[in-house]
């Protein structure tokens, strides 16, 4: 159990590839923090620097208040779970879990005790004498978690541990992981490219883009008040509708670059005449004629998901794509027009050039 402090951390790979730059994250004791972002944005690089598998180019790393930049991975009191499991293929499940402990010089009885306990937690008791190749993907990943648990580290690191599993198993293991975190009370740092995984697991999310942190916050922070257009776009499914345009002199109407305009009852919190991007989540649009933020959707196709229906179309008769999420099963003909309203608190306003949030 420990805090983890990352101070203006940066990594430049040979060949001047800047994978991460100016990363500041303070992770509290027992917190579950998820690093999320598109592939190639530097998540693994940061995790590997925390683990000590990659040298740190700039900045400092503190575990439990101690600077560990130059410590070997084995000396950092961390354990890591890899995407492809990285189990030792020639050792049994028991051997895999025991290996690190034997290297630490733990007594035999203690090793046995910890393996028994981890096996019980992860329901691996029947598989202890099997080799990794005799296990399914989900079981292998549990063994990898077991190998981490028995070390009783202060910080657990996960690099996309569920990405190689099928969707159903992923959901199941996600729940197990969350339960495990609650049981152990240890600090978890979890890397994924999947926003759903991030939203459902995290105490706090660190959303990354091109080697930099876009926003740090609770899942709801990121959903309700995305700090940038990038965050708004990344979090939530279906994607947020974003329209670019120019505000009029009163900041009440937005003339869209794709044609058409949207009018609002109250002025938007931006400079009149500014170029902005306006975002509305599909689930925050409702059918209706009367109200602020009125707009009209021309249906092109619908997605029936059972619990809800996503209607895709264009804004007015223009070219701006627009999607809306309706409750339950709903029918709409292509070409039909659907009047929508959106309440002001669900409107996100971003600077069209920098992508920063304005409201």
């Amino acid at each position: 159990m420990a805090t983890l402090e990352i101070k203006s951390l940066g990594k430049t790979y040979p060949g001047n590839v800047v994978a991460a730059e100016g990363i500041d994250i303070a992770i509290e004791d027992g917190e579950l923090v998820v690093l999320v972002g598109p592939s190639g944005c530097g998540k693994s690089t940061i995790l590997r620097m925390i683990a000590g598998l990659e040298t740190i180019t700039t900045g400092d790393l503190f575990i439990a208040g101690k600077r560990v930049n130059d410590h070997e991975p084995g000396e950092r009191d961390i354990a890591m779970v890899f995407q492809n499991y990285a189990l030792y293929p020639h050792m049994t499940v028991r051997g895999n879990m025991a290996y690190g402990l034997r290297n630490e010089g733990q007594p035999k009885a203690e090793i046995e005790r910890r393996i028994a306990e981890a096996a019980r937690t992860l329901r691996l008791e029947d598989y202890l004498d099997r080799k990794p190749r005799q296990l399914s993907g989900g079981q292998r990943q549990r063994v990898a978690m077991g190998r981490a648990i028995v070390r009783e580290p202060r910080i657990f690191l996960f690099d996309e541990p569920l990405s190689n599993l099928d969707a159903k198993l992923r959901t199941q293991l996600r729940a197990e992981l969350k339960a495990l975190h609650r049981r152990l009370g240890a600090t978890f740092v979890y890397v994924t490219h999947d926003q759903v995984e991030a939203m459902s697991l995290a105490d706090r999310i660190v959303l990354m883009n091109a080697g930099q942190v876009e926003q740090i916050g609770t899942p709801l922070d990121l959903y309700l008040r995305p700090a940038s257009r990038f965050v708004a776009d990344f979090i939530g499914s279906p994607n947020m509708n974003v329209f670019e345009g120019v505000l009029d002199g009163e900041a009440r109407a937005l003339t869209l670059s794709g044609g058409g305009s949207i009018r609002f009852a109250d002025p938007l919190p931006a400079a009149p005449g500014a170029r902005v991007a306006l975002g509305i989540r599909p689930e925050h649009l409702h059918p209706g004629d009367e109200g602020p933020g009125r707009m009209e959707l021309t249906v092109t196709f619908i997605e029936q998901l059972g619990a809800d229906t996503v209607v895709h179309g264009t804004l007015g008769n223009g070219r701006e794509p627009l999607a809306v999420r309706l409750d339950g099963v709903q029918m709409r003909e292509a070409g039909a027009s659907l009047p929508l309203i959106c309440s002001p608190e669900h409107i996100h306003l971003f600077d069209a050039d920098t992508g920063r949030r304005l409201n």
Partner: protein
């Protein structure tokens, strides 16, 4: 291919059986000849079935001195060959696996330079460098010793290259998991890399053992002492034993004996090798 044409089947089997007979016939001839007396092979027709001299011939070969081969029992030569072949095999595997380990897993100055230097020695087999090597061995005082027989043949670019290629296929995450599990370089090598290389080692063992066992030119050069003669040299000496007629029954017996260790190695290692191929572990 699942085809069921009886005639074709018959034909392919006939071809295969013919091939096997063709290959085995000389072995059969040697085996038969080694059980006859001295004259049997120089007379016509050559015998195709066992004679009654097997016991005498083989006990003379193994325990008695063979005047035609310098008065050393074949048993002794077999032992020399075995020591040389095992020395070369184990030495080659040990040296090349360590060299490959260094080249793949450690960053040191001129790493690739060393790799290419090792690689270039592929062009320098013993036969090419035989004079300078002989000179070096002489100056080291290794003439007429097992060291002289073994050491110059130990370096192996082929095996180094093979291990290097294998190590490159070991996933990086495995190395990283081991680092997190506090395994230093030595532990990683012993506990993880070596067990994973098992099947490669078995395959190399077969090839290198036979290479070592069949060495002729080099042992001929560095040994003058009869007690260090190898069995391959022994056969050659018996064939060229000067004025007398070649003692064919002994020569064939020696050849049969010389076959045994390589066959044992192939059979024993093949099991491990095939098992390794079946249970792919990465």
């Amino acid at each position: 291919m699942v085809e069921n044409r009886p005639l074709l089947k018959l034909f392919t089997h006939a071809v295969l059986i013919l091939g096997v007979l063709f290959l085995c016939f000389p072995v059969w001839m040697s085996l038969v000849a080694s059980t006859h007396g001295p004259g049997a092979l120089s007379k016509s027709p050559i015998p195709l079935w066992f004679g009654d001299q097997a016991w005498e011939n083989y006990s003379q070969l193994i325990f008695g001195g063979m005047s035609e081969a310098g008065g050393v029992p074949v048993g002794m030569m077999m032992l020399n060959s075995l020591i040389m072949a095992l020395g070369i095999t184990i030495g080659k595997i040990a040296v090349s696996i360590l060299a490959a380990y260094a080249i793949v897993y450690f960053r040191f100055p001129f790493r690739m330079g060393f790799f290419w230097m090792i690689f270039v020695t592929l062009m320098l087999p013993v036969e090419v460098r035989i004079l300078p090597t002989f000179d070096v061995v002489t100056k080291l005082g290794l003439l007429n010793s097992y060291g002289g027989l073994i050491v110059p043949l130990i370096a192996s670019a082929t095996a180094t290259f093979l291990f290097r290629q294998f190590f490159l296929t070991v996933p990086d995450e495995l190395v990283e998991a081991a680092r997190i599990d506090r395994a230093g370089p030595m532990r990683f090598f012993w506990d993880i890399l070596l067990p994973l290389s098992r099947t490669n080692i078995a395959a190399l063992f077969i090839i290198l053992f036979i290479y070592g066992w069949n060495q002729y030119l080099w042992p001929l050069l560095v040994t003058t002492d009869e007690s260090l003669y190898t069995v391959v040299m022994g056969i050659q000496r018996m064939v060229n034993s000067g004025e007398q007629l070649p003692v064919w029954h002994y020569i064939m017996g020696t050849a049969m004996l010389a076959l045994i260790p390589p066959v044992i190695v192939v059979v024993a290692m093949q099991n491990l090798f095939v098992k390794g191929l079946v249970e792919s572990e990465k």
